[in-house]
Amino acid sequence: MTAEPNVAPAAAVLAKPAKRQRGPLWFAWRRFLANRAAVVGGSVLGIITLMAIFAPWITPAGPTAQAFLTDALAFPSAQHWMGVDDLGRDFFTRIVYGARVSLTIGFSAALFSVVIGIPLGAAAGFFGGRTDWVIMRVIEIFSVVPPLLAAMLLGALTGGGFWMIVAIAALFGWVQVCLLVRAQIKAFKEKEFVRAAQALGASPAYVIRVHLIPNSVSPIIIGFVLAIPLAMMLEASLSFLGVGVPPPTPSWGQMINNGMNFMYFYWHLAVFPTVALAVTVLATSLFGDGLRDALDPTMKAR
């Protein structure tokens, strides 16, 4: 063995000014921005939302005004971008206002499903045993009673309406998220880092909140994104069964239903609401994918 090193000018290394530390969210944001599709999805979603909010300023008439009765069923034109519907209403206006209803239903149901589904799923997956048993029974009950039945019943009891649909969509949307979270957490709770936190004295609530749920983002986001079209579709099916959002309030589901009658000839009445729904959900899911990738630090954007 050779000469041992002497004290080195090490201070120089340490003295270098520390770089600015960035939080994990900042990195997530960067990863998100690097994902073109996600940014496009997010922007489209933003635009649709803004259009819904500022509907009165961008549409030629009110959503229920039958201002163009003599033009009823007119095809798209410069004056009526999406044509006129069978009741003489400007269809573009209807679509824009329909976004209000459909987005509210879709997003509140999705939000609710996450808000209910995550804690319940987490508790069931993490504690297992009796908690799991009870939650699973609740889930079973909710999966068995079909939303349509519940809707028809509640419709008959409460007089139906917009909020009833939101409530139904929300009440039945959470089951899937709950199951997904439960499964993911069951798989993750045995991981070493979870035990590491437990070894530190972390409470179950902490472990679930800080470790397990963030590690379950991808099923959660998928569940969230899927809940949106499901809720919107529920609204459409309820309209089909006559328990939907009462007319004349425009909603995409109801418009699609109505458009079906006109599909052969007056195609615009079915096509535009369907496209609106599809674009919204597509944007949401691109956005969701981007979000998922961004929140996962092991993913690097290209």
Partner: protein, 310 residues
């Protein structure tokens, strides 16, 4: 395991009971009864006579008790909608088309969805990914009655290749199955993509590559199995949801299946049939969850062995 299954079956009974009470109360709390008449009021005397004939004049708990007592002996009563046969006979005939079409729809849609999701995950952020996402999203957002209508327009009205609707020869199955398959396909594509991406990041995938396994083997054996938990979670409930018939698909394709009975039994206050349908769903869902849980254990040995916790 046997003990576990027995215990689970016991809890199925609990759910069964709770659901039966809930449904029963729900059904009976909707105003109106099965013999209230349609267009014109039914004379009071007639209505009373009919109600008495079917025991509907009894207090609710008596009705419930009677019905459940029958159920225990596999007697689900006679549907008001279709006298002359029992509820079980009705289910027996009406369920077949739903099961065949819905089941095939899921069985075809799921593998397609899995492939689509895989392609998307493996080619993340490429045009394949975007295409797969779009297809999946369209599958989820175009209401199934619109899809059905489009299929009919294209394949039977314009091209004339397939019959438009009806039930019978297998060529009549193709379009409804296609309509049914869209939702499982789309759902699975979404889940698969995300689960695959999760798994592809795992260090053991690198090891598998290092061992010289072909990409196909890695993806189809290892990544698939590791990604399958969320897929298993949604599979059986989806299967049940689809295989018990969709009122929309069945209406569009005139499939004489179970779907319309879910609605008509509520509309016509057909208590025996409605109860039977719900109880059937209950049992199927409970069993589905039981099977899913067993599958989890099979797929993930760590759950099977309860981890280090013994």
């Amino acid at each position: 395991m046997t003990g576990y299954i027995l215990r689970r079956l016991l809890s199925v009974m609990v759910t069964f009971f709770v659901v039966s009470v809930i449904i029963f109360l729900m059904m009976h709390s909707i105003p109106g009864g099965p013999f209230d008449g349609g267009d014109m009021p039914v004379p009071e005397a007639v209505r009373q006579k009919l109600n008495a004939q079917y025991g509907l004049d009894q207090p609710l708990y008596v009705q419930y008790g009677r019905y459940m007592w029958g159920v225990l002996q596999f007697d689900f009563g006679v549907p008001f909608q279709s006298p002359g046969e029992t509820v079980l006979e009705l289910l027996g005939r009406a369920w077949v088309p739903s099961l065949v079409l819905g089941g095939l729809g899921v069985l075809i849609g799921v593998p397609l969805g899995i492939l689509l999701g895989m392609a998307a995950a493996l080619k993340r952020n490429s045009w394949i990914d975007y295409l797969a996402s779009t297809v999946a999203t369209l599958g989820l957002t175009i209401p199934v009655f619109v899809t059905s209508m489009l299929l009919i327009l294209v394949f039977s009205v314009w091209l004339g290749w397939l019959p438009s609707s009806g039930w019978g020869e297998p060529e009549r199955w193709i379009l409804p199955i296609a309509a049914y398959a869209t939702i499982p396909m789309a759902t699975y594509a979404r889940y698969m993509r995300s689960a695959m991406l999760d798994t592809l990041n795992k260090p053991f995938v690198t090891v598998l590559r290092a061992k010289g396994l072909s990409e196909r083997q890695i993806v189809f054996q290892h990544v698939m199995r590791n990604s399958s938990i969320p897929l298993v979670t949604v599979f059986l409930p989806m299967f049940i949801g689809t295989a018990t018939g969709s009122i929309f698909v069945e209406a569009m394709f005139r499939v004489p299946g179970l779907g319309s009975y879910f609605v008509s039994s509520i509309r016509t206050r057909d208590y025996p049939l409605e109860m039977a349908l719900m109880l059937m769903l209950t049992v199927m869902f409970c069993l589905a969850y039981l099977i899913s849980d067993i599958l989890y254990a099979w797929l993930n040995p760590r759950i099977r062995h309860g981890g280090k916790q013994e």
